[in-house]
């Protein structure tokens, strides 16, 4: 499949795939903004993200063409990496890019009915423009090899995100304070990050991440490097919604337009987490004495705390979107736990869960978008009896839910299984118990929703509800079936994650 698609792409395009993946959506963004009708902007965004998806597939096949994973270095504008900006694609980048562009493409397709319903018509073209900017930023973060350029892309995506979240105001006014909060905290995170990068630059004189990795080894006791490290970890921690820096997330997810929630939940925190992994294991590394202790004293406890505290919070929410938002933070906890093991198996488990969680939350929020569209309510009360009136939407939702819980034959099970295996190997028996307990809480909070959906009579039988439109159902079922596919035949995604983790540990990018 991957070979087939990539072989159909002309060589001239394939050679510039890293640049084109970013450039096309970036160019489309202003064009979309000036389109007279939202529909044309919508089609443009589908084309742009679809093109990026093809480019991402090309990159994956290029990376996989060599045993152990090739590293594609692309110099922007032909400048040498140490002087200009380098895009550097290895197994980890290509996996994240594939994820972001797949979700971006599916999200673009399904967006139209919900955008039409939730955004004022005059703003739809601008909305799609913002979406493309956001997509560009996320894809940029995932492909750049330059620390400062990473900051720029992070800000591009963040600023677009603030706009997208705020546009939820036409449905729910609480979107405005949510966007405001997100803006403040996102800015704190970005500033921390750029301060950290500044420290590193002061200590080494380079911004290229591969070069940084080499030069940092010599100055690893430099206090500026230590401070830079701390700033970067915390800055990216905010962006990735690491507990307890996650508090911007529930409101932002709950009140933004349904489509934005779905897209952000599946990509934004994932990309920030990628950046964290990139800095932890490529720029810095386990050979830095302080790194091991950060993993054990910061990431692991925060991961565990998120898994428990946020799962509890999810249990008590009355709004389904907030339940899922808290559950997202808890799931970030799983990823952090995997990463904090600090072995190839652990990081691979974390990355595997990262991809699977994107598939899970993508499906869940997409199904919810369908509910919002036809029923206009997301409280637990509103979900009652929906299983009867819209079986297709809700079955897909249920698949996502069992996958989130980690029932065998679903994606969620595979990644939890890999995570548990990695924990066993590392001897963290007690952490396995925590994983089990947190999964039990997931059973509770998803079980509440499923019970309401399938076993309760509708609260208000007069409020008519119908199936979501096909434009939503098709991408929704693609994601739902992807959950099952990964669950039954997890080889492809697990292979990507393994390759990505291997590229970090066997000196891929250094």
């Amino acid at each position: 499949m991957i070979e087939l698609i990539s072989s159909m792409v002309p060589d001239a395009l394939a050679a510039h795939a890293p640049a084109l993946l970013i450039a096309i959506p970036m160019l489309m963004a202003p064009i979309a903004a000036f389109m007279p009708s939202g529909r044309i902007a919508w089609i443009l965004s589908i084309l742009a993200t679809g093109f990026s998806l093809v480019m991402a597939i090309v990159l994956v096949s290029q990376v996989q063409s060599i045993e152990g994973g090739a590293v594609i270095s692309y110099a922007m504008g032909g400048w040498r990496p140490d002087a200009g900006i380098e895009f550097r694609i290895d197994a980890l980048n290509s996996m994240i890019l594939l994820l972001v562009s797949t979700i971006g493409f599916l999200a673009a397709i399904f967006s139209w009915p919900t955008v039409l319903a939730e955004i004022r018509e005059a703003k739809t073209a601008m909305f799609y423009s913002a979406y493309l900017v956001c997509f560009t930023g996320l894809a940029g973060v995932a492909s750049t090899g330059d620390a400062f350029n990473l900051f720029v892309f992070l800000e591009i995506s963040s600023i677009a995100t603030y706009v997208l979240v705020a546009l939820g105001a036409s449905r729910d006014r609480r979107a405005l304070p949510a966007a405001g909060n997100y803006l403040l905290l996102g800015t704190i995170g970005a500033s921390f990050f750029v301060v950290g990068v500044g420290f590193l630059y002061a200590a080494t004189g380079t911004l290229n991440m591969a070069e940084l990795a080499i030069r940092l080894e010599a100055v690893q006791d430099n206090k500026a490097v230590l401070a830079g490290y701390a700033f970067i970890v915390v800055g990216l921690g905010i962006k990735a919604a690491m507990f307890p820096l996650h508090q911007w997330l529930p409101n932002a997810y709950a009140y933004s337009p349904s489509f934005v929630t779905m897209f952000l939940a599946a990509t934004a925190t994932k990309v920030a987490l990628y950046a964290l992994v990139r800095f932890l294991f490529t720029v810095f590394g386990l050979e830095f004495a302080f790194e091991g202790s950060t993993l054990i004293w910061i990431l692991m406890p925060m991961g565990i705390a998120a898994m428990i505290a946020c799962s509890f919070q999810a249990v008590f929410q009355t709004d389904v979107r907030r339940t899922l938002a808290y559950s997202s933070v808890a799931q970030v906890g799983y990823m952090l736990l995997g990463i904090s093991i600090g072995t190839a198996a652990g990081v691979s488990a974390g990355l595997f869960h990262l991809v699977n969680h994107a598939l899970i939350k993508g499906a869940l929020f997409m199904a919810l978008a369908g509910v919002v569209l036809t029923y206009q309510g997301t409280s637990l009360q509103d979900m009652r009896g929906l299983g009867r009136s819209s079986p297709w939407t809700m079955t897909a939702f249920a698949i996502g839910a069992v996958s989130l819980i980690g029932v065998p034959l679903t994606a969620g099970f595979q990644s939890k299984y890999v995570l548990v295996t990695a924990l066993f190997e590392h001897g963290w028996w007690w952490a396995v118990a925590v994983v089990m307990f947190s999964s039990l809480l997931a059973v509770v909070y998803m079980g509440r929703i499923l019970e309401a959906v399938f076993f309760r009579a509708p609260t208000n039988p007069n409020k008519r509800h119908k199936e979501a439109p096909l434009l939503i159902l098709i991408p929704l079922w693609i994601l739902a079936l992807a959950n099952i596919w990964v669950g039954v035949q997890g080889g492809f995604v697990a292979g990507l994650a393994d390759g990505a983790a291997a590229s970090l540990f066997i000196g891929g990018a250094s």
Binding site: G180, N181, L184, L185, I188, G189, F192, Q220, D221, L226, A227, Y229, A230, F231, V233, V234, G237, I238, P244, L245, Q247, W248, N251, F288, A289, F290, G292, S293, T294, W297, I298, A309, F312, Q313, V315, F316, Q317, T318, R322, V407, P408, L409, Q414, Y417, V418, V420, T421, F424, M436, V443, F455, V488, Q489, G490, G491, A494
Partner: protein
Amino acid sequence: MSGLIGQINPGLLLILVGFAGCLIPVQRVRQALMVATPVVAILMLAMADRGTDLATASVIGLDLVLYKVDSLSFIFGLAFLIASLLNAIYALHTDDRLQDGMALAYAGAAVAATFAGDLMTLFIFWEITAVSSVFLILRAGTKAAYQAAMRYLGVQIFSGVLLLDGLAYVYKSTGSLSLEAFTSFDQPGAKLIFAAFAIKAAFPFLHNWLQDAYPKATVVGAVVLSAFTTKLAVYAFARMFPGFEMLIWIGAVMTVFPVFFAVIENDLRKVLSYSLNNQLGFMICAIGIGTPLAINGAAAHAFAHIIYKGLLFMSMGAVLYRVGTAKASELGGLYKSMPWTTIFCIIGAVSISAFPLFSGFVAKAMTMSAVATEGYVIVWLMLLFASAGVLEHSGIKIPYFTFFGHDSGIRVKEAPFNMLLAMGMAAFICIAIGLPTIGGFGYGWLYNMLPCTVTAPADVCMISGKEIKPYAPYTVDHVLTQLQLLMFAVLAFILLKRFGLYPPEKPGTILDTDWVLRKPGYSMVKWAGTVWGKAGPALTAFFGRMGARTFEKIETTFSPRGALARGPLTLSMAMWSAVLLGVVMLVVLLAS
């Protein structure tokens, strides 16, 4: 003769058709499929080779054996498939998509689990049995059924989780997922897996889910449920824990304690649920003995039991369907209006009571002999007592209070034809495998399928190194002993009836062989009941308060209005960022 057909796990076929069946709206088409599929599956099973891995798959580095048949799994699988055929016929009169489909999927999951060749596959289908079967309870539609179904689901999933933990443990320590029998509890994972099986097999104190859920299921649902879950657990025990002495005692206790409950219970489907427990006890006990004879006894008993217990549940279901109740105190005299049901019920009753010429006799005799041969005198006595108890509550109480006894005056139509057909087929099997071998019929057919035969001893039979002797149930002393026990019991019942000591409102008598035990036993049950009646509410209230307080604490911390969500958001977040930055710096500084 293994073509492609012989390499597909028949359970998988049932599961797929079952799930698809939920989507077929036309009753006749769907039900034709439901009846035809088990037949096809039986043919597929007949074509399968024994003892090799017929279908394998590799999932994330685990080598799974999806289909493996040997002499032990064969007899259980066959019994499950026959039961699913009978159930499908029994369900023909109702038009319920979900029930039809889930009943078949449930049966399929049990079959597939039986033919699983490794722990992971077993676990997957183990869970599917739990999830699919819960619909059979839910479809009853009452609030009580809904609550029971949720409790049932919780217990079953918990069992699955234990199994998953156990298999993970096994896999981590041995690197294999094989279904090899454990030899001691000290082996990694043995205890976890034992606990998982114990829940499904409804061991004493873990059994409440069974009596809770089965009587609340639909008419068809109870019949379906009675066949699979517990017998799958019995199979699993026979596969992985043969010869564990602990099982002998657990089994013996299991045979005895439900007798008391069954005797005083008024809901006849609940009586059958208790008697189900009692029957499982015989099988568990036999597995604990672990000799070839005992394993054969357990397998034969399971096979016969699936059929006659199904038959009894079917007859009570027919009564419930026609009359609307299955309470002993409200029934009576139904033989006039439901003569065929009466006959079939009696056949089921005499089979479960192990009358010679019926299937229970040829099966139970093996277990009893195995216990006696191994010299467990006390266990043997317990089983004897339980046998008498079976006769009392299943053999006499069920048919007597339903179809005879005082005439309740209820006049209803005979059960629908499809129910009678299913019951007739089950009754036929009960007799056919109970008779001495004459022509093609008789117990020889059953005995030829047993796991441990002289010609082909399976792995499970080699554990004790005992030699395998063909067993003959129809010897003079077997038949005489059994008849003596049964006749004495019947006589006691008649005498008690004649002297008015057996009031129909309080059906509570145990048998003459244990006349001495009767009074203290019964009073003890009564006393325990009183104590529980007094102490129970207090205890419940105490734990309820404790639970409520903990829950409140958790809620005040985590709920949307709780402590974690209080305060201006931005402020607290900004503070947390600063705090975390400080902590990270501290850690980094200390470490470098």
